[in-house]
Symmetry: C2
Subunit: 134 residues, 2 copies
């Protein structure tokens, strides 16, 4: 299974799962339309309550990452955000600012920082089969 829970991390289980699904979707490990593991078997495999998985999936649905078809299961959606363009832009800028502020505190200079960003972009593109992020 592609998902791994770290019970010692202190981070809530359902959030770990949310991040991993988003990450897998962004890197192309999971493709649009693909079904996600169904709740009960995944819960059993990860040794976690089924409602914990359900909560993660609900959160992902709210974020527009997946859609659930009643009685059938959960499926990765085509990329589109439920938010309006200005809100999306604001969210992304906040995320970027966090990274920039952290770079400052960690004493990483501009060139090194940009290099790291490009490296990660490359990594994700490579993972998703030489496809550009779009």
């Amino acid at each position: 299974m592609i998902f791994k829970i770290d019970f010692k991390s202190g981070k809530p289980v359902y959030l770990q799962l949310v991040d991993q699904v988003r990450y897998a979707a962004a890197s192309g490990v999971l493709q649009a339309g693909e079904p996600l593991p169904s709740i009960r078997p995944l819960a059993e495999e990860l040794r976690v309550n089924r409602n914990t998985i359900a909560k993660a999936y609900t959160e992902l649905e709210n974020q527009g990452v997946l859609e659930t078809r009643p009685g059938k299961g959960c499926f990765l959606k085509e990329n589109n955000s439920p938010f309006t363009k200005p809100i999306r832009q604001k969210l992304l800028l906040a995320e970027i600012d966090e990274a920039v502020v952290m770079a400052h505190h960690l004493q990483v200079d501009r060139e090194k920082f940009l290099a790291l960003v490009q490296e990660r972009l490359d990594y994700f593109e490579q993972q998703s089969g030489a496809k550009k992020i779009n």
Copy 2:
């Protein structure tokens, strides 16, 4: 006062303060060695319990952003992180990945994303008096 609390945001007051101090330090609004507002007056001004401010300052001290001299006050430290270099690198990469994953979900392409990053770097450098992030 440079700090503003949004009580409707849902974000804990002490975390709002932590972010604002980090942001102010990164952008040069606050300079190393400068004293931060002392706890009680700031608490009064922001209409917040004094221990809420104290908690924010404690957190900032743990992050290596400020240091407190008993009986005197809290002062912005020279930039240095309490973490080792590999840990710092890992933290920063996680932060960058979050932004990259979000860009993917928000359907922002590579060039646009890099442009946004540069824009924010420029912004912070400009704020801190044309000084490079280091």
